[in-house]
Symmetry: C2
């Protein structure tokens, strides 16, 4: 296999940042690139994509189309992703042509829930108890070992609660495996957490590191409802969360923004739930509350620029606008900083936009 | 002549805001439209334009090309401008096809320095002493009447100090008229001001009004160097500046953002220098320091949305990045909120970007 390309010097203003994936994250990355005088090129597997509305440089083609990926790489100075599920072959191909950030190792580690949790454990971080499951009988045996209730998840490609089933006993676990089409899976024990949180942080190619204050996150129906910063995390927990993000980023030799979803247990412990090798919904409040948003921060890291200041100059509450809630855009426009993603249909459970309310800085 | 189109209901998310002019103001308007889920279409008379980098909807054609203007209007739900010097015929043509905001009256009043100053005086606002000049002998006579020193400016098409000559006596004034190619001109008496300021404000189609806190502006070589908010204006002067903007906006039945450049005299009076019927360089700090920036505010007004909150949540200093200063982008990226406009050549006196520093709110 050919050597992965690296970036010898920063991408200068006027250069092109390639973004794989044209959803709202790609769109907000493209808008952040534009602020810095960088051009954004978007590659998306469907013709209509929110990010296609904000740059003329765009390719709509399947994610495994080698010729199209080659042409895309041709026009880019550096390449990144708005999602972690690109086929491994495609990543390797792009990386042989242009610098890809974050790199293949980060993507492959986080694409698979079992690999991801094993990686976190190896770093000495706490996770839910878990076991790999590749047959119905393994599912039953894993349940017997971990105890219940538990949750069976496909190892790959799940998001927003998709690809997961709650199980109460061994027979449930076996049935859930079949329900998930016998895909390689992972059984996770439930964590009795007090609340959820996340930490969004960036690492530069030079090893520099910048973490945003960790928000508390409220989920509804497996979808992020709102992020509150500062939430219920103590100052010490906030620092611990940032240290966890740094440990993960360093171990992956990570370049770019990553997010670590955490459970905060009743005794105050922090348990790593998921690692997202990209900008994250729980970091959207940084657009208004920080001098450098998570989107600009990611573009800076990918382009080899110095990281920006992650300091928060205000408290913030970010609320997602989901499905039909977007129909109320006119009244939403009266009540805070409104972001809409340019999606045509307000389907059930679809993230259509978000609102951020700023409040005076408290801590 | 056909009737100007009006907007019966707000342009919904997914609608298209047409922007005439593809410079940095058009670019930042397009980025603001994207935040709100609106698409931006750009019409520019040159092939390379900063705003062409941030939307696929773009036409490069002369500003008087009727067929192209017609096609552009076809794809737009409402149309606005990043500059005030579009030919009157073109404005009337666009207005016969789609709602144009601000309207023809605002543009025609402010396109001509004599009309603009006469309009301000008729509203009871203070201006520098002035006289229309259409021949060398009129220039000399006007100088004799106003006294010196004075400044001869073309009535139309000047910006950043272009199209103006300082004159010390009547012979100078006559020579200056010839130097300005005998274009219809205006002689303006000098104002002995303490400092310069501006007020950026918005008016909605429903008559609603929202003004930003007025910055103090520092010019160098006729180009804005920096805007400071709050500057040396007192609270009372700030309120007076906002009242001036409101008087002007109401009188023009204005829709959108406008800026009024002011001289603050040593005795504390406010003198109207220029009216810009558009977003303005001295309002760039609102991107970071306000929940709703001047760009979003203008898009909201043009699209018939409710105006956003102009409250300032921080003090700010905005500094332009001019010409070769842009070569220092890597060190500038370390020191504040950096905006670069995607211009290819860092020509002398060209605005390449700007930086905003936020500071804790003082007043």
């Amino acid at each position: 296999m050919s050597q992965a390309k690296t970036l010898d010097k920063p991408v200068p203003p006027g250069g092109v940042i390639g973004i794989i994936g044209g959803g709202q994250l790609g769109r907000m990355l493209a808008l952040a690139a534009a602020r810095l005088g960088l051009k954004a090129a978007i590659y998306n597997d469907e013709n209509h994509a929110p990010a296609f509305q904000v740059t003329p440089l765009q390719i709509a083609a399947p994610y495994d189309d080698r010729a199209m990926l080659t042409g895309f790489a041709e026009i880019c100075d550096a390449i990144t992703f708005e999602f972690e599920n690109l086929p491994s072959d495609a990543i390797a191909h792009l990386a042989s042509l242009k610098p890809v950030r974050p790199g293949r190792r980060a993507l492959e580690t986080t694409q698979d829930r079992f690999t991801e949790k094993s990686f976190a454990q190896a770093l000495g971080l706490k996770t839910a108890p878990f076991a790999a499951v590749s047959s119905a009988s393994e599912a039953e045996a894993a349940f017997a070992r971990l105890g219940g209730p538990a949750i069976l998840k496909t190892r790959r490609l799940g998001y927003d609660g998709k690809g997961q089933v709650k199980v109460a006993n061994g027979a449930d676990a076996a049935a859930a495996f079949t329900q998930l089409r016998s895909a390689p899976s992972i059984l996770e024990g439930f964590v009795d957490f007090a609340f959820e949180a996340s930490v969004v942080a960036a690492r530069g190619a030079d090893g520099s590191f910048a973490a945003y204050d960790p928000p508390e996150n409220i989920h509804e129906n497996h979808i992020l409802r709102r992020s509150i910063v500062p939430g219920r995390l103590s100052k010490a927990q906030g620092e611990e969360a940032k240290a966890i993000a740094r440990k993960i980023a360093d171990a992956l030799d990570y370049v770019g923004v990553l997010a670590v979803e955490l459970f905060v247990t009743r005794d105050g412990g922090l348990i790593v739930n998921e690692i997202a090798p990209r900008v994250h919904n729980s970091g959207h409040w940084t657009i208004e509350a920080c001098a450098c948003s998570q989107f600009e921060q990611h573009v800076r890291a990918v382009a080899g620029w110095p990281l920006g200041d992650p300091a928060r100059h205000a408290d913030a509450v970010m609320e997602n606008i989901i499905g039909a809630e977007a129909h109320a855009w006119e009244s939403l426009a009266r009540t805070g900083a409104l972001h809409l993603y340019g999606k045509r249909e307000a389907r059930l459970g679809r993230k259509m936009g978000h609102m951020t309310q700023l409040k005076p800085l408290t801590k």
